[in-house]
Symmetry: C2
Subunit: 202 residues, 2 copies
C-alpha cells in the first residue's frame, strides 16, 4: 500500500509490528489518533513509555509488579504452601480473576520450545527449585497450570521429573470439556481426555 | 479485571481507548511490549508522537500530507478536471491502490450525521464549492465516492443539490454485486440495486 505521508507510513509500520495487528488495522488505529486530540496520543505514548521504563518483576514469583515484591507474594492472607506454576503474568491475572485460588504463583516466562530456541535454562525453572529449597518444607504442592499444547506438556513433564525426588505433591489443572461447552462441538482430543480423566460423580 | 501493576493498568486503559481494541487485546499488546526490547516501545511511541505533532492536511484536497500540498494535488500527471469526493484520507489510499483513477480528490472529513451532531458546516463541503469556483471551468466532473449508508447517501444528495446549478457532471461510484461475490449470498438491497442499476452488456 502507498501512503500519502511518510509519517503515516512510519507509524503504521511500528503499530503493525504488534501481535495480531496487520497493516490495515494499524492504518485504522493511526488515522484514529490523527483525528483525535493530540493529548490522546500523548497520554497513550506516555503510558507505554512509563510502563516499559519502570516495569519490574517480583523477585519471588517473577510476575509483573510495581514493587520488588508483588502484591500476592507480599500478602499475609495467601497460602504459601501451594505454588501455581504458569507461563506468563497474564495467566496469573486470569487465575486471580476466577477468585478460586488462594495460593502463590511462579511465572516461568514461557515454555520449553526447541523450535524457538527456548530450553529449560531460558525459563525460571531453576529459580523454582531454589525457591522450594530455600523455603525448606513450606511448599507442599506445586500446581502445573500450563497450556495444553505440546510445549506446555513437555514443560510440565520436565518440571514434574525435577520435583519427583522432593516430598511435594505435583498436580495439574483439570483438562476436559469447558463449562457451557457442547459435547458435539468439542474436539476429539479434549473429549478423549475428559473420558480417560473422568472423575467420581458427587 | 485486576492488574498486578498500576503501570500495566494505565497502559491497558490508554490502549483500549483505540477503536476495536478491548481490554483483553490491550493487555496482550501491552504484555508483548513488556517482553520485547525497550527500543521497540520507544520506536513505536516516537513514531506516533512525531505523526501527531507534524501531520498536516493538503490545503487543496484536505487529505493527510507531509507538505502543505499533497503528492496527488502537486502532481502534473493527474487530471484536474475530475474530483473524487471521499469521506476520509484512507478512502483516498484505497482508491489509489486500485490504480484505476487518475483524477484528484476532495476529502470531506466525514459525512452528514445529525445523530452525531455533524452537519454540512462541519465538513469540507463549502471548501469544495469554493474550490470549484476558484478553478473556474477546470472541474468538469465530481465523482461522489461515499459509503452506501444512510449518512453517505444523505451527504451525496446534499452535495448533488449544491452542484446542480453548475455546469458540472455529478456521478457516483457504481453500486452492485462485488466482483467474486455470489448472488446467493448478496444481501437483497445490494442485489435489488444491482438490478435497477443494470448496465448495457458489452
Amino acid at each position: 500500500m502507498e501512503y500519502p505521508s511518510k509519517l503515516i507510513e512510519d507509524a503504521v509500520n511500528e503499530v503493525s509490528k504488534l501481535p495480531g495487528i496487520g497493516k490495515k488495522t494499524a492504518l485504522r488505529l493511526v488515522l484514529h489518533l490523527v483525528k483525535e486530540n493530540e493529548n490522546r496520543t500523548r497520554a497513550l505514548t506516555e503510558a507505554l513509555n512509563k510502563l516499559r521504563a519502570n516495569i519490574r518483576f517480583c523477585k519471588t514469583c517473577f510476575t509483573i509488579s510495581d514493587e520488588a515484591e508483588c502484591v500476592i507474594c507480599g500478602s499475609h492472607r495467601r497460602d504459601r504452601s501451594t505454588v501455581c506454576v504458569v507461563e506468563e503474568s497474564n495467566d496469573v491475572m486470569a487465575i486471580e480473576n476466577t477468585a478460586q485460588y488462594n495460593g502463590v504463583y511462579h511465572v516461568l516466562g514461557g515454555v520449553i520450545s526447541p523450535m524457538n530456541g527456548i530450553g529449560p535454562s531460558e525459563l525460571k525453572i531453576e529459580h523454582l527449585l531454589q525457591r522450594i529449597a530455600q523455603t525448606k518444607n513450606e511448599i507442599k504442592e506445586v500446581i502445573l497450570a500450563l497450556s495444553p499444547t505440546l510445549e506446555g506438556d513437555t514443560t510440565a513433564f520436565y518440571i514434574n521429573r525435577k520435583l519427583k525426588a522432593l516430598p511435594i505433591k505435583v498436580t495439574s489443572i483439570a483438562r476436559g470439556v469447558p463449562v457451557g461447552g457442547n459435547l458435539e462441538y468439542t474436539d476429539e482430543i479434549t473429549l478423549g481426555r475428559s473420558i480417560t480423566g473422568r472423575v467420581v460423580f458427587d
